[in-house]
């Protein structure tokens, strides 16, 4: 069906060149730091040396006296306004437990003071010159004991509260709680012929965009605060900055230039309120950029423990599943609730079951702060679920692919989880409209050589194994996220497309241009895209929740449809026979009537602006979604395990992905490949190491290894086209899903190779070797 509907498309479905790629390859496109001028001051955050302490007294007199220091702000100098840094829609489903500056620090690296100075060296010197009397507080690092009676209370301030009605109990270090159920889980577990229970845990990790967080701010000639910032969420950044520093939204303008990667880290309004505070204090232009070491302490992937209890029949069909989640959100609760809920909502609905239960808590600790990270909870829970199913399959003597086939959700089916579990409130019921998962399983198995290679580990030092997993994600947050696109026509028949959608390297500018171009009958090069500037572009929630192609893409289609309608009316006026506009077709940069009459878009543009019945041809399209259609994927991996060293190497990785229609197949593949390698790197090497004071010890690329060219295995992407009826030209999302596969697929492959189950990441040589020795 999909092939029939995409066959005649001229621009959509074609791998056109990404619109900004040549400018980027030539070093001409500009990032935030490139906008700095010689008079720009350095903004600096004085980091806390302690994990948990109160500032009893702070005196900045000496710091302020240092030559080259323009401002030193402490918590006594600025308004104290509780807010969340989570860049989410209003009202944010994250606790208001954050202040621009506070009289308390809650993790090593937390903010003590803000400084504006001529150079970074001067700023650091001023930071050291602060005279601070500390009251040391007991820290709590172990999430298992964070909610114990008598544990230190991390958020004892009276302002900490949850702005929406969900369980929140800071006096017990509980940042969020969620429970849902459908059917009788206790009975399902009691009466099933086969019952299993397993526990898994995932580790802290960082997104590591090669460009760390960076914000440039200044006051413009109308006394407004302008922030040029590396953000995924310009409109949320404007709203939250205004709130956090106590100025009206209209006084803030946020501009997003090119962004050096985000992966969720920049769905956080971290530096913008700090820079705004320093701009307001000094009236000067301020550039604040995090060092790599500071970036590791900005936001992280939540370390989550996931337990699964499942009742099965002998044939492998699922009677009931209970997922138990404990998320460590660190010192602040940004995204704590929603990441935790995603553990259930993006994993459990993949399978049919009669009863389901989800029981989750997020706890505060005095460690770095969790946040949004590509995969957003699904990464952590898919690890648990997909390893769990592998273990069940083995016990039931079923092929791992077969147990998925017997249980996975099919088109036309719904899941009670969709309706029960939303963003801090009930979710939205939906039935699956499109799924290529069955074909993903078939094609992926073939590409890895499942039948030939499975269960043949060999006998040498290097054992081989094959593993697999199945995945789903979502496309946008239903009934919440809004994307809007504005298109206007120029006098040569070209178009300006402005959008709040935030291209952070993903290629969304190109995707939106392709969709509009398809409607308007032109090449994508005729559509000039500009994103994002809160003064100039329409609203969009930004780049998160796998929403841009699906949602902003639909907004682009709607805007283009409205513009096309206006063009057809003008063209009809111009044609001698005045044909019914509805009969006119836009193609090849012209409007064509059934009788062969033809006017070019350039002629339409000139007439509309200069010649007759003049008006601006333009329209805005808005899209919200009533469902969140899941993309589906099956991942297969071949590994070798060195039984003497414990070293695991990925030999080949296959990702078969159903993202609906790939608007730009090459860019879609790029999303798959990037997320796959990030997933592999997370599975094999990436983790935070802390000392006993809560200090992260490995804050650089020498000690925190991310994969480079020489670590990269063969990665094969198989796009499996389907047609999602509710998406633009049949498209669903693609950006997040494929980061979720490596942990489970590799763990399952390690078992195939050496017969040990790794239920805790990452699979470092130490851990693998210990598991092998324990088994022996």
């Amino acid at each position: 069906m999909s092939a029939d509907r995409t066959r005649d498309l001229q621009v959509v479905g074609h791998s056109v060149r990404k619109v900004d790629s040549l400018g980027l390859a030539c070093g001409q496109e500009l990032y935030v730091a490139d906008y700095a001028t010689p008079d720009t001051l350095v903004g600096y955050v004085v980091p806390s040396p302690y994990a948990h302490a109160r500032i009893k007294r702070i005196d900045a007199t000496r710091a302020r006296a240092i030559a080259g220091v323009h401002a030193v702000l402490t918590h006594e100098d600025i308004p104290r306004i509780a807010h969340t840094t989570a860049g989410q829609g209003y009202v944010e489903p994250s606790p208001y437990d954050n202040f621009v500056l506070d009289s308390k620090v809650r993790f090593v690296g937390d903010r003590v003071a803000l400084i504006a100075a001529e150079t970074l060296e001067i700023a650091e010197e001023a930071g050291k010159a602060l005279d601070i009397e500390w009251e040391m507080l007991d820290p709590i690092f172990d999430p298992d004991h964070a909610m114990d009676e008598g544990a230190p209370i991390i958020h004892d301030e009276p302002e900490a509260h949850m702005p929406i009605p969900v369980p929140y109990d800071p006096k017990r270090n509980m940042a969020a709680g969620a429970n849902m159920g459908d059917g009788d889980i206790e009975q399902a577990l009691r009466t099933s012929p086969k019952v299993y229970s397993r526990d898994f845990s995932t580790q802290y990790a960082q997104h590591c965009p090669i460009e760390p967080h960076v914000t440039l701010g200044y006051l413009d000639a109308r006394n407004r605060v302008v922030l040029i910032t590396s953000t995924q969420v310009p409109f949320h950044a404007r709203r939250i900055t205004a709130q956090a520093v106590g100025i009206p939204v209209k006084r803030v303008r946020v501009i997003k230039p090119r962004i050096g990667g985000g992966f969720g880290a920049k769905q956080e309004v971290l530096l913008e309120p700090l820079v705004a505070s320093l701009v307001l204090a000094t009236g000067r232009k301020i550039l604040m950029q995090l060092s790599r070491a500071e970036e590791f302490l900005s936001r992280t992937r939540h370390a989550i423990k996931v337990g699964i209890d499942g009742g099965f029949n002998e044939d492998g069909t699922i009677n009931g599943l209970r997922m138990r989640v404990q998320s460590n959100t660190g010192a602040y609760g940004a995204h704590a609730l929603t990441v935790m809920c995603n553990c259930g909502s993006k994993v459990l609905p993949l399978y049919r079951m009669k009863a389901v239960a989800f029981d989750a808590k997020a706890v505060y600790t005095n460690l770095p702060v969790g946040g949004a990270y590509r995969g957003y909870g699904a990464t952590q829970a898919a690890f648990a679920m997909e390893c769990f199913l592998d273990e069940v399959a083995e016990d039931l003597h079923l092929d791992p692919i077969e147990i998925r086939r017997r249980n996975h959700i099919l088109p036309g089916e719904g899941s009670p989880v969709f309706a029960a579990l939303g963003e801090g409130k009930p979710g939205v019921e939906q039935k699956i409209g499109s799924s290529g998962l069955a074909e993903c399983l078939t094609l992926g198995a073939k590409a890895i050589g499942w039948e030939e290679k499975r269960s043949k580990p060999g006998t040498g030092t290097l054992r081989r194994g094959i593993g697999m997993c199945a995945l789903m994600q979502g496309s946008a947050i239903p009934e919440i996220d809004l994307g809007a696109v504005h298109i206007k026509m120029n006098d040569d028949g070209s178009f300006n497309l402005t959008c709040g959608a935030t291209d952070l390297g993903t290629g969304s500018d190109t995707i939106l241009a392709q969709i509009a171009a398809e409607v308007l009958g032109v090449d994508e090069t005729e559509v000039l895209v500009y994103s994002s500037d809160t003064d100039l572009t329409p609203f969009d929630v930004g780049a998160y929740a796998s929403s841009t192609t699906y949602l902003s893409g639909e907004a682009s289609r709607r805007a283009a449809l409205a513009v096309a309608e206006q063009i057809r009316e003008i063209a009809s006026e111009m044609m001698e026979s005045h044909p019914d506009p509805a009969t006119l077709v836009l193609k090849d940069k012209a409007v064509v009537a059934p009788d062969g009459s033809r006017v070019t878009l350039g002629e339409v543009g000139l007439r509309s602006l200069y010649q007759a019945n003049q008006r601006q041809v333009a329209a805005t399209g808005s899209a919200i979604s009533h469902k969140s259609p899941p993309p589906f994927s099956a991942h297969f991996v071949e590994v070798t395990v060195d039984i003497q060293t414990g070293q695991v190497r990925v030999v080949k990785y296959v990702a078969a992905v159903d993202c609906g229609t790939a608007i730009n197949p090459k860019l879609a593949e790029g999303q798959v490949e990037g997320s796959v390698l990030n997933g592999i790197s997370y599975a094999l090497t990436e983790e935070y190491q802390f000392d006993d004071k809560g200090r992260m010890r490995n804050t650089g690329f020498n000690d925190y290894k991310i994969f480079g060219t020489q670590d990269t295995p063969e990665i094969q992407t198989i796009l499996v086209p389907t047609w999602e009826e509710t998406g633009p030209y049949g498209a669903k999302s693609v950006s997040e899903i494929c980061i979720n596969g490596a942990l489970p697929a590799i763990s399952n492959a390690i078992y195939d190779a050496v017969g040990v189950r790794l239920r805790e990441g990452p699979f470092t040589p130490d851990r693998v070797l210990a598991a092998i020795r324990q088994k022996a």
Partner: protein, 161 residues
């Protein structure tokens, strides 16, 4: 200290203060294609430039070291009006996502392809091993290097004709 060098084919002089790296000097000259991603410890590769044709990390190269030598930055390789075949190959292969690592990647590629136009996969991976990318998984970057090598071979053949 006043240093004389050649940058992107043009004789340049600059003043440098103690501790200045080549990265600092290039940014001060307005050459913004060099990027910073690792606290100047030479672990990300985003600041890569060519010094006498060899890829070096400008963030750990002392500025005086370039005296009397030839520096090539991404701006000297080509621009959107007249791009170098490697830049075109990166754009066309889908090797550029966020683009922050691209100037460094492309200059490391240039250094490799100046040595051989038939690089093996191992040589490509080795030549780019100091350049981290978090977006692409390197797959399309490898494609781009091979495409660029093919384009340069063709260019060489055409020139010899």
């Amino acid at each position: 200290m006043r240093i004389s060098t050649r940058i992107n084919g043009v004789a340049r002089q600059f003043d440098c203060q103690p501790g200045d790296t080549l990265f600092d000097v290039l940014r001060r000259m307005g050459l913004r294609g060099v990027k910073e991603g690792c606290d100047r410890e030479g672990t990300c590769g985003a600041c890569t430039v060519l010094l006498d044709g060899k890829a070096v990390l400008s963030c750990i190269t002392p500025a005086p070291k370039v005296a009397g030598r030839e520096v090539l930055t991404i701006e000297g390789l080509g621009d959107v009006a007249s791009p170098h075949p490697i830049q075109v190959a990166f754009a066309d292969a889908g090797a550029v996502q966020c683009g922050y690592c691209s100037p460094g990647m492309i200059l490391s590629t240039k250094s490799l392809l100046d040595r051989t136009l038939v690089p093996t996969q191992e040589q490509i991976a080795e030549a780019l091993s100091g350049n981290l990318c978090r977006c692409t998984g390197y797959v399309k970057i490898f494609d781009a290097v091979r495409d660029a090598a093919a384009a340069l071979q063709q260019e060489k053949k055409d020139n010899e004709r």
